[in-house]
């Protein structure tokens, strides 16, 4: 089943042409001491039909629940056209568009993507994707430190709560370059005064999540201005779908954020157990040469016709090697394509409606939750489409009971520490209808009784 076309005659002819007797001879430069004969540990191959049976059996181990978890990955309606288009061989099986003339499809899509993302963020430019939201944040931090010429500080202030896994990834990726990260706990509006008292020394950049990990909306204007006063860059960490409704980072404060990044998954990418998703990054034009990742530019061909090609490659590893802006090479092209198609199908009004409907559904859920005894909405306002509730026993046990009844009830905030172990982060989006919300309530009630 190796998908090879070779007939025995082909092989004989080819060996003959090479001038050897057997395929084994092809490997005669490998020291015999380390040669192995095949992979006896692994079973023999099976055909597609058998594989189909096998995978059905395996996938039956997955149960699809009515989902109210967000926490960094959001369920939205994905138009059928999106993946039917992205699944076309020419998009699915093309390589990175190094040969520009043979890749105008991918290149124009990237150019369109850059335009859409930059505009959504209120930035001048964007790149062609990063691996995911967390790694995009890590790269944004490294970029900010390189880009901020006004300070030699490698300190980063995280203003407000961000996803614990983002913190983890950020740490894993940035730690070897002397980056120092200070997390400042603020109130739920992320009031700038909290920061003022916490961040004394000079720092290279402030990371500002909007909404924050708990679904709360940050007072972005004041912090942006404060950071800029301190010659720090502002890195906006945003959810692209909510940008249909919320103020674009480029308009935060007087001068706007400097770098914007985030998880692109909400833009047409299925939850899919966690990936593949994609990260996005946008920035003000002045920082473009510090941006990692691929960037496409418009140009002309020898006849003066418009075309697109990768540009500013001197930032990248294949040219600059150890001095590159990052080691990133293969990124998340197909998901970026998916997002471009998604944003085209939704348009500015559609995307705004998704954000509004998700918000309204979350508001409605809070309304319904107010009728549930023993449950307390910790943040009943200042939310976008995610909020925190408190349950009478451990979140973990409640979630378990809810899952048994087919509902993924939220994210267990115990990861934030013991004080949070009775709290759930709950998300509703436009995919829910009134029935779904009612079912959430019913199942939550039973779960609480059951525990």
């Amino acid at each position: 089943m190796s998908f090879t076309p070779h007939t025995p005659e082909d092989i004989a002819l080819m060996l003959n042409s090479i001038g050897i007797d057997s395929v084994e001879q092809l490997f005669d430069e490998i020291p015999s001491a380390i040669r192995i004969e095949g992979l006896p540990d692994l079973a023999d191959g099976i055909n597609e039909m058998a594989m189909g049976r096998e995978i059905k059996k395996i996938s039956a181990g997955n149960k699809n629940l009515l989902n109210f978890i967000g926490a960094g990955a959001y369920q939205h309606h994905i138009p059928s056209a999106v993946w039917q288009l992205a699944g076309r061989g020419e998009l699915l099986t093309a390589y990175t568009p190094y040969q520009a003339e043979a890749s105008q499809g991918s290149l124009q899509i990237i150019f369109e993507f850059q335009t859409m993302i930059a505009s959504l963020c209120g930035m001048d430019v964007a790149n062609a994707s990063m691996y995911d939201g967390a790694s995009a944040l890590a790269e944004s931090i490294l970029m900010a430190v390189r880009a901020n010429k006004k300070t030699t500080s490698k300190k980063i202030v995280i203003a407000d709560s961000i996803h614990p896994c983002y913190l983890n990834v950020m740490n894993s990726i940035t730690r070897y370059q002397g980056i120092e990260i200070q997390c400042v706990e603020t109130d739920r509006y992320n009031d700038v005064n909290t920061l003022k008292s916490a961040a004394h020394e000079s720092f290279a950049a402030v990371v500002l999540p909007q909404p924050n990990f708990l679904g709360q909306l940050t007072r972005v204007d004041a912090i942006t201005d404060w950071a800029h006063q301190h010659h720090a860059l502002v890195i906006g960490l945003v959810n692209p779908v909510t940008l249909g409704l919320l103020k674009e980072p480029g308009s935060w404060g007087a001068r706007g954020a400097d770098i914007v990044c985030g998880e692109g998954q909400p833009l047409g990418v299925p939850l899919a157990g966690g990936g593949p998703y994609f990260g996005f990054m946008a920035c003000k034009k002045q920082f473009i040469r510090q941006m990692p990742g691929r960037i496409v530019g418009k140009t002309t061909d020898t006849n003066g016709k418009t075309g697109y090609c990768l540009t500013l490659q001197a930032r990248e590893q294949h040219i600059r090697r150890s001095k590159a802006t990052s080691n990133i090479c293969t990124n998340q092209g197909l998901l970026m394509t998916v997002a471009t198609i998604y944003m085209s199908l939704l348009g500015p009004q559609g995307l705004k409606n998704v954000a509004i409907k998700s918000h309204q559904n979350t508001a409605r859920l809070i309304e319904l939750l107010n009728t549930v005894k023993q449950v307390h909405c910790v943040y009943a306002d200042n939310f976008c489409h995610e909020m925190v509730i408190q349950v009478p026993s451990s979140a973990k046990s409640v979630l378990k009971k809810m899952a048994d009844r087919g509902v993924a009830g939220g994210y267990d905030l115990a990861t934030l520490g013991q004080a949070w172990a009775d709290k759930l982060l709950v998300c509703s989006t436009e995919v829910h209808n009134e029935n779904d919300l009612q079912q959430f309530i019913t199942v939550l009630k039973t779960a609480i009784e059951d525990v």
């Binding site: 149960k63 309606h77 998009l91 390589y95 990936g275 040219i319 150890s322």
Partner: protein, 483 residues
Amino acid sequence: MLIFEKSVQGRAAQAQSPHLQKDAVRIDSSLLRQTKPCLPEVSELETVRHFTNLSRKNFSIDTNFYPLGSCTMKYNPRAAHQFASDEKFLNQHPYIDDDYKQGTLQCLYELQHTIKSVTGMTAVSLTPMAGAQGEFAGVAMIRAYHDERGDKQREEIIVPDAAHGTNPATAFMCGYKVREVATLSDSGDVDLTALKAVLSEKTAGIMLTNPSTLGVFERKIKEIADLTHEAGGLLYYDGANLNAIMGKVRPGDMGFDVMHLNLHKTFATPHGGGGPGAGPVAANSKLAKYLPVPVVQKTATGRYILVDETHYPHSIGKLSTFFGNTGVLIRAYIYAKMLGGNGLTQASTLATLNANYLMTALHKAGFTLAYPQRRASHEFIITLEPEHKIYGITALDVAKCLLDRGIHAPTMYFPLLVAECLLIEPTETESKQQLDEFVDAMIAIRQMMIENAEQLKQAPQKLPVTRLDEVKAAKTLDLVWSE
């Protein structure tokens, strides 16, 4: 035409917008957007037509032979794509309890096993999202190893001059200085004398690709491993070329301590026009405990679980928000399962056969091999330096000519060592007929050099655009559309 140029204010793909009863929101108005983002306002049909037609401007495996060295552009089985697109896999939030995702975890667990078998390593983490991130993980693990031992003076990573750019870039990201080591120009093997000269108590490790990016097997690999280990360094294996050696030789047996694989190369997951890939990292017992988390384990009761730092306290940490490029991993699992041990071995056998056949044929046709004394691995290099001197044409010209003939160009000008080079990797899924066609195309192009080198420099002529001005792109930096 850009999709923005098709946009008409107020137009929309009506079926895609959620239905709002009212548009009131309970959000402070100072936080709301005042400007309309530049997303196109187009109908569903316009969108479908736009992207369908754009796609048609691409080369791809599904439409073209793609002998792109170092990239392993083999057939991406449609079955893997279809099976992995099952709702059961797609409609799963990453944070549901392990009990509800046993299917996904089983695939991942078995893939870990397959990777161990193929590489000869003892433990695997699947989370790195591409080769470069796999490299990062591996080098960070080397660092963690030295750090734990208090071996703080080791601040250098050795990288051969032929190495892929991600290698030195990775070393830098892990806080290392990069020391280059030369390759012997006649054999393509690493220069052992030069290696000995750079090895020292500062050496944290060495990053090697084997077969190397020069398309030859590093025959002195055991010596290199011994020398490095003796110096207290560790060996990193860049698995980009694993398609050459499955079932033939294992990095673990060569003496490597840690490595990554590019599943989007060797395990046939589609490249997607630039990702997603997957770059699992595998390690021997020395380094296993530093693997990035999460990894999948199987309990005594046969349940699959995700484990994190609580089980791997020495882990270098997480590298992705959730579990890397899960969907890519599932495709790779399906591919590996369909091929089995025998199929994976056969893939390497025939990838190597194809490369050697093509190398021989091009040689017979008068092209100059970079390493004529060596067997090709799954890829090989020709240099157009002689043609450059005689006819004034470049490897780039030849590459663009191939495009005009419907063949994707081989990798050009990499590795940097060989002047005017093309790195050619046919892969095992191409037929002898296709290889012969490639040789014919190369012969025809050589004929053009003789008869009309100027015309050759005008290639491509049959694609949506002729040769593009990359300098202009970098100069004007026109990166987003505006009215």
